[in-house]
Each structure stands twice: as C-alpha cells, then as structure tokens.
Amino acid sequence: MVDKKLEAKLDLLCVELLELVHEIDKTKREQEDHMKEGYLCLAKARYEIGVDRVSQLQYPSEMVASVTVHRRTNQEVDQLEIIHGSRLEQKQENPKEEATLRKRNKTNDRKEQEIDPVTEGKSIEDVSQLTPAINPIHWFGFLVPRALRLAQESFSKAIEASCALCNLQSRYEHTLTEYRKSRTRQKELDDQLTQGGAPEPETS
C-alpha cells in the first residue's frame, strides 16, 4: 500500500519549494532594480560634486553601523530582521544595564557629572566602539546633491531586499532538507514493497 499521507506531504513540499524559488527570483530582481537605481544616482552625484568627492577617500576613520540585523530562531528556521539605529542606541535601550550603571555612580554626585555612564569602566578601545552613528551621507559633505540622497534611499531598499532574500534562502534550505528526508522515506517504503515485506509505520 502506498503511503498517501507521505505522498501528500511530498506534494506540498514540492509546491512550497517551487513557490520559494519563484519568490527568491522575484526578490533578487527587485534588489537588482534598487541597486541599478543607486548606481545611477551615485554617478549623477559624482557628476555634480566631482569624482573624488564620492569615493572611498571620503570614508571616515571611525564608523558605526546604523543598520544591523537581529536573528530570531522560529520553527527551526533562522529569520533575520533589519534594525535601524546604532548598537550603542540599542545598548542604551536596555533598562537593566542602565540601572546598574547609574547605581555605580550614586555615591559620588560630583563624579556623576564628570563620568559618562555609558563609557565608564570601559577601555579606550571599547569607548571608540561606542561612537554614535552619524548619517553616512555627511561623510561626503553637508550640502550634498539630491542624487546622493536618492542613492542612499535606493541602497537602503537594497539592504532590506537582501535581508528578505536571506530569510527566503533559510526557508528554502529548511524545506529542501524536509523534502529530501521525506523522499528518502518514500524510497525506503517503495523498496520494502518491491521486496514483498510489510512497510514499517512512519515514526515522524
């Protein structure tokens, strides 16, 4: 007897895989469009303010990411989500950590004014890590052309598309593993049937 439940599961997984491939392809094309737009705007900005003004020569010696990703493990699949704001800001949002740091300064009121609660107790190297994120557009000047702002918008959308693609890839990998497992199980059942033995009931 053919395991109807297993066959239905395989069909479902097959459809899900094809849908995911379609979704990956669609999101890749969206990402490509945003990047194309971004490259074009960067070229326009270069034309307006000069070639060397929009290049790696303008990268600062200190930079802090204002866009990070947060990892969530949901139903055995890793999901990433974009967080806007520097990691310093995220740390400050943590109330428990903040309370501990405030208590430490409670005994000396004068010291409290002098010592920054965020940087206290940290080495110089760590403090440089806590440099607040500035808008990267200001690396290229304060009165930047509109094209550079548009390029920034386009690349921000490309970052969001990249995060969505990573999530789709994780889901694809997970579904593919499930499909392969079920396919192996079906093959085992088929082999048992051809040999004439009774198939073992499915455990999972």
Binding site: I24, M63, V67, T68, V69, H70, K91, N135, P136
Partner: protein, 121 residues
C-alpha cells in the same frame, strides 16, 4: 522562539560603487581592532586577498550577512560552496558592470538540480 540580544552586522565585498552604496545605507563599521566589515575590490586585487578577507568575515561572530558581488563570488566559488552554516549567510548581489545571472547563483543552481528524473518514475 529564541532570539539573540545584540544586532549583527552586514558585510560587503564589492567594487567601489557597491561598497560606497551599501555604506551609505548605514552598514559600515570599524570594530575595536579597526577591522572593517567591507572590502573594496579593485581590478588588480589578488584572488588570495579576497579569499582571505571572505574567510575572515566567515569567522567573525558579529557578522550575519555577507554580501558579495557575483563577479567576485565567481573567483572564490570554492569557499562559498564549502560554506554550509546558516549564519553568516552569503548572498550574491549584482555588480555595476555585470548584471545578475541566476544560472550562476549558488542557491538557484541547487534549485535547478532539485528534482531528478528518478523522482518522476
């Protein structure tokens, strides 16, 4: 449902425009050892340097996504194919001079070989 506490970084390996664009988006960071999370690849950048940088990014715990231009990914394909861990995820992106080619993408190549003739017997 579990989640990690602090945000992780995105890294980028690409030409100057790709890196500048993504850094404009706000992903750039220099850590306390002054190691950047990006690499600008020039025409004369040796392959072993790209490979070394990619391996460094793969070993960093604070990086969740590595964006790499597809044309550069082609020269370090063996490193990308050997990477099986879910985090950091390697994502191939189109570059300025080479449009995205789905036939070269590692995920879509695997999708192409998803079903064998044996599956339809």
């Amino acid at each position: 449902m579990a989640s990690s506490r602090s945000g992780k970084l995105l890294a980028v390996i690409g030409d100057e425009d790709t890196c500048t664009g993504f850094l404009l988006g706000g992903i750039g960071e220099l850590n306390k050892h002054r190691h950047p999370n990006f690499m600008v690849v020039e025409k004369d950048t040796p392959t072993n340097e790209i490979e070394e940088q990619l391996k460094k990014f793969l070993n960093r715990q604070d990086i969740a996504i590595i964006l790499i231009s597809q044309s550069i990914a082609d020269v370090v394909r063996h490193v990308i194919d050997a990477h099986v861990e879910p985090i950091p995820t390697i994502l191939e992106i189109p570059s300025k001079d080479a449009p995205y080619d789905p036939s070269k993408d590692s995920i879509l190549r695997r999708a192409k070989g998803m079903f064998s003739a044996e599956d339809f017997r």
